[in-house]
């Protein structure tokens, strides 16, 4: 077994190519997640606006993004929009995936915000909390509880969908594994390694979200922990 691993993974530097691919996958996933989520905030705010002039364009944007396969979006940017510009393909992938994330996450945010019941906001207003305080200490925490499980799935989906970036000649984890399968003629072994990496990353994300979901809101927890020692 050790000889097999040494022959197929170490001697021909396959591990290095796979690691490079893994880093590209992580890079695209992380950047698209951050940018997409940041972009989702204004899109969601426009979408829930009572003014049609703001809500309708946001709705159209979301419908377009959610109705278009991310691979189409990727090819559209690579072969059409940025065709004449010398630009790194990874950068193009980040833009395409960010847009895809923004449309989906904006909808997740919208449904989470709308799920916060009016009576909860009534109590906050009756207590004289400012709009900012209501948003920060009542609306956002309650909406995040609702949004978190769906958002977690969106992140896992994003990670898995990045495997299509090979179409625009980016060597990510999937493409690296595919390449090494052909070179070593050991497709089962290589695919097994690839699946293990994706599973590992997914469980890392699950773990991170489990930790986030366990956190408690309110100032009392930290205060009493610090002052009852």
């Amino acid at each position: 077994m050790i000889a097999f691993i040494q022959e197929n993974l170490i001697q021909n530097n396959a591990w290095y190519s796979i690691l490079q691919g893994l880093l590209v996958t992580i890079q695209i996933t992380a950047a698209a997640l951050v940018l997409g989520t940041l972009l989702a905030v204004p899109v969601c705010m426009l979408r829930i606006s009572h003014k049609r002039v703001l809500a309708v364009p946001a709705q159209a944007f979301i419908a377009f993004i959610r109705g278009t396969p991310v691979l189409m979006l990727l090819m559209l940017f690579y072969y059409v929009v940025f065709q004449s510009v010398r630009i790194d393909a990874v950068f193009i992938a980040i833009i395409a995936f960010s847009l895809n994330v923004s449309g989906n996450v904006a909808e997740i945010m919208r449904s989470a915000i709308l799920s916060v019941s009016k009576p909860q906001l009534d109590s906050a207003r009756a207590l004289g909390l400012s709009r900012f305080a209501i948003f920060s200490y009542v609306l956002l925490p309650q909406a995040s509880i609702v949004a978190m499980p769906v958002y977690k799935s969106a992140v896992i989906n994003l990670l898995q969908w990045t495997c299509v970036v090979g179409y625009i000649s980016i060597t990510d984890l999937t493409r690296a594994i595919n390449y090494m399968s052909t070179r070593t003629l050991e497709p089962f072994f290589m695919l097994f390694i690839g699946i293990m990496f994706y599973l590992g990353l997914s469980y890392l994300i699950y773990g991170l979200f489990a930790w986030i979901e366990k956190r408690k809101f309110g100032a009392s927890h930290r205060y009493y922990r610090r002052n009852t020692k």
Binding site: P119, Q120, D122, S123, A124, R125, A126, L127, G128, L129, S130, A133, Y137, V138, P141, Q142, I145, K216, F217, G218, A219, S220, Y223, Y224, N227
Partner: protein
């Protein structure tokens, strides 16, 4: 303390009440009674800015609701409200529910806010529940926390919107006894209720609402023992 001038409210073209004018003095205890759906709760919500009247004005300690932002917030700061469905913040534990407004609106230090919240928890008889979440409490306990939360900012005006309607009889008693204690303090207390015995024991004045607003009003004893107008007599005869 509260001055109401020609306040009207309608929803979707349907009038809830029209041209209500009233004055509520500091230390007064007012009961608002009437059939369900006649706008008692809407009227109460107009007194702390949760509903905006279509016309007329409400002033609390001279500050006009829906005046300038600062005046509006100042007017609200005089009031505390207890809701029919408790409306505790579901993501916060009991002590955070009570202390939140103190920390965020009065900028009280956490140490003071939590210490005062614990005193209030003692007053409503739940000192050991500070770390419980609303979902872990019975209806009566939630309502007592709701009362503690309303008292946290030491408001001059306390508004109770059918505080016992969602409770079974034993829980009603525990909540009413807490409200009875508050009724003895020097605060303006306005309670929308169907508990006529409580109104009889603890309030000074009753406003009877019908579909158009205040139909009859008067001192509690007189209203309960010898109401003058037809609808009031009919309503009270059912009890």
């Amino acid at each position: 303390m509260i001055t109401i001038r020609n306040v009207s409210k309608a929803f979707g073209g349907k009038t809830v009440f029209e041209n209500i004018s009233a004055r509520f003095a500091k230390n007064e205890r007012i009961a608002i009674i009437g059939q369900s759906g006649v706008g008692k709760s809407v009227f109460l919500r107009c007194l702390n800015g949760l509903e905006r009247p279509d016309s007329g004005e409400v002033r609390i300690a001279g500050d006009r609701l829906f005046g300038s932002r600062r005046e509006h917030m100042r007017a609200i700061s005089h009031t505390g409200m207890v809701f029919q469905q408790f409306n505790l913040f579901s993501h916060l534990n009991v002590i955070d529910n009570i202390a939140l407004a103190l920390i965020k609106t009065r900028h009280t230090s956490k140490a003071e806010a939590f210490a005062f919240s614990e005193i209030l928890l003692g007053k409503v008889g739940l000192p050991d529940k500070r770390f419980a979440y609303p979902s872990e409490l019975s209806g009566g306990q939630q309502q007592r926390i709701g009362i503690a939360r309303a008292l946290a900012l030491n408001p001059d005006v306390l508004l109770f919107d059918e505080p016992t309607s969602a409770l079974d009889p034993s829980m009603k008693e525990e909540v009413l006894s807490v409200i009875a204690d508050i009724a003895l303090q020097n605060k303006l207390l306005i309670i929308v209720t169907h508990e006529l015995q409580f109104a009889h024991d603890y309030t000074d004045r009753i406003l009877f609402f019908d579909e158009n607003g205040v139909y009859e009003e008067g001192p509690t004893k007189q209203m309960l023992q010898s109401p003058k107008r037809e609808k009031t007599i009919k309503f009270l005869s059912a009890y």
